[in-house]
Amino acid sequence: MSALRTLGRCWPLPFLLCLAACGAGSVCKQIARSDKTVASWAATAAMVGQRWAAGDVPTSYARNTLAKGARQMRSEAAALARSAGGDPLVETTSTRYVQLAAVLTRMEALAGTGNKAEVAQLAAALPTLERLDHRCSARGQAQAS
């Protein structure tokens, strides 16, 4: 009987565990969606930067595209923070997006001054996003321990 009573007191535990798991899954899904957009714009910026430095695309196009990319990244960061603010993984991810956006803004400014060498350097070194599944599985391991 006491075992049953103990079980009775613990009934919310599986429910809460389920809820936490579902919540984590949903955050991971949101990050996955945002990561896809941000990674696409980071890759676009890298190619545009390299091609602009090589003289293949005009300055106006390069600046427009880099500015658009930076805007998209900031907007993804803001959307993530709005939907799941307070979650450490979300905060780390948003910060990373904002840092990437800053790189794109810097590239845009450098393109405006015609600094091909530095734009090419930034384009080549444009940080790539960590793989999402690594981050989510790392989080799972941390929660388990």
């Binding site: 696409s40 190619m47 300055t59 196009y61």
Partner: protein, 407 residues
């Protein structure tokens, strides 16, 4: 075939190739290549087969019966029925024309650096002026021949040396490799861009304008079959270049500027300008066709005098219809709606209204009153039946897929 006729067929085939691409075909093919590499080539192939049949039939109808498709539907089913597909077509035309104007504006933005929405009114004026001053032949042949520049996509695909085995496997229907909702949404959008209902109305009205008769049936078959097949090669070129340039880098298609990179990959600086000019010319040609088609269907619905070869003063209400249509669609770009989002939404909406437009074709093409001995054979009927089935499925899934996978 006499030399004059041969020249006419050659011109027809060339204009079909040059006029095949439009803003929807470019956007959907680039998205397909960037997101799923060669996996959606089979959709372009199936869509092309559908288009060949759907273009040949209204051409045959016009040549034999001297009725445009819209005319025949109104006469055969009555105004009460006819009004629904026409209203649906009217809404889609409004959006697609807005997207095509947007395509020209983006091309001008790429060439000049001036933001696209500033170009909306000058582009609309240029479209209107060309429609006002140009003859049907000039619009049909001149603009479409300039559109042969889009063969740059085919050249680009060859220069990039794609893995031909993988390309060939793309022609075999397969389940989604990843992101199933996005995969099927892109498939439906490609079909929506290819099986454009406006083709049925425009092609048959054009055949009436050109005064086709029974002697032109062979030409009609050749233009539909050969022209559309070669035309679809251009769309496949867009898909393959996107698969080779954008997909390996993880670049998705969120705006037209990213699609420009598909030709920068193989051709460098020239590729950038080739893309901008290709986009501008194909979308300008499509603007003309879309605006005139609105004029055709409204005039044919209401029994007004119509014809692009007539002077505007001899077909004032027809002229007024396409003028208002250009003006209304331009507003979409003036207010700064994203042309790519508008394009993808229009393609999904096109898929929704396809059954309304395509189903009457089966009845009319089997009506001896219109076609005499030239009614459909069983093969054509079977294919049209399959197309109608396909359009019903697309109509049901298009909007849910837009929500789930349209981005």
């Amino acid at each position: 075939m006499k030399p004059g006729k041969l020249l006419q067929v050659a011109l027809g085939v060339l204009t079909s190739i040059g006029g095949f691409l439009d803003v929807g075909a470019i956007a959907t093919a680039a998205d397909a290549g960037a997101s799923f590499r060669f996996s959606l080539l089979w959709v372009v192939l199936i869509g092309t087969i559908c288009v060949i049949f759907l273009v040949e039939m209204p051409g045959r109808l016009a040549a034999v019966s001297k009725h445009s498709y819209a005319d025949a539907v109104r006469e055969r089913f009555g105004f009460q029925f006819y009004i629904w597909p026409i209203l649906a077509e009217f809404v889609v035309d409004f959006l697609v024309l807005g997207a095509e104007i947007g395509g020209v504006c983006i091309a001008l933005q790429l060439l000049t650096g001036i933001a696209f929405h500033w170009w909306a009114i000058p582009v609309a004026l240029a479209v209107w002026l060309t429609a006002w001053l140009g003859t049907f032949d000039f619009i049909e042949n001149g603009v479409a021949l300039l559109g042969l520049i889009t063969l740059a996509f085919v050249a680009g695909a060859i220069v990039l040396h794609p893995p031909w085995g993988e390309v060939a496997r793309g022609f075999v229907p397969a389940p989604a490799p990843h992101e199933p909702a996005h995969y099927w949404f892109t498939a439906v959008s490609i079909m929506g861009a290819l099986i454009s209902p406006y083709l049925l109305y425009f092609y048959s009205s054009g055949a009436i304008e050109d005064g086709w008769g029974k002697q032109d049936l062979t030409m009609n078959r050749l233009v539909a079959g050969v022209g559309m097949s070669f035309g679809s090669l251009v769309q496949m070129g867009v898909l393959v270049t996107a698969a080779m340039v954008l997909a390996p880098r993880g670049i998705g298609v969120d705006q037209y500027g990213q699609i420009a990179l598909t030709l920068v990959g193989p051709f460098g600086k020239w590729g950038y300008y080739l893309f901008a000019v290709s986009l501008g010319i194909t979308c300008f040609g499509a603007c003309m066709e879309q605006a005139l088609e609105t004029g055709f269907i409204v005039s044919q619905a209401l029994g007004w005098n119509w014809g692009q070869s007539k002077r505007p003063v001899d077909a004032t209400r027809f002229t007024m219809a396409y003028t208002l249509s250009i003006a209304a669609s331009t507003v979409l770009m003036v207010v700064g709606i994203d042309p790519l989002k508008l394009t993808l939404f229009s393609m999904a909406l096109t898929a929704v209204m396809l059954p309304l437009v395509v189903t009457p074709l089966l009845v009319i093409m089997n009506d001896k009153h219109y076609l005499g001995e030239h009614t459909n054979g069983w093969v054509t009927n079977a294919v049209v039946g399959l197309i109608i089935g396909l359009t019903f499925v697309m109509a049901v899934v298009a909007i849910p897929l837009e929500y789930l996978g349209g981005g």
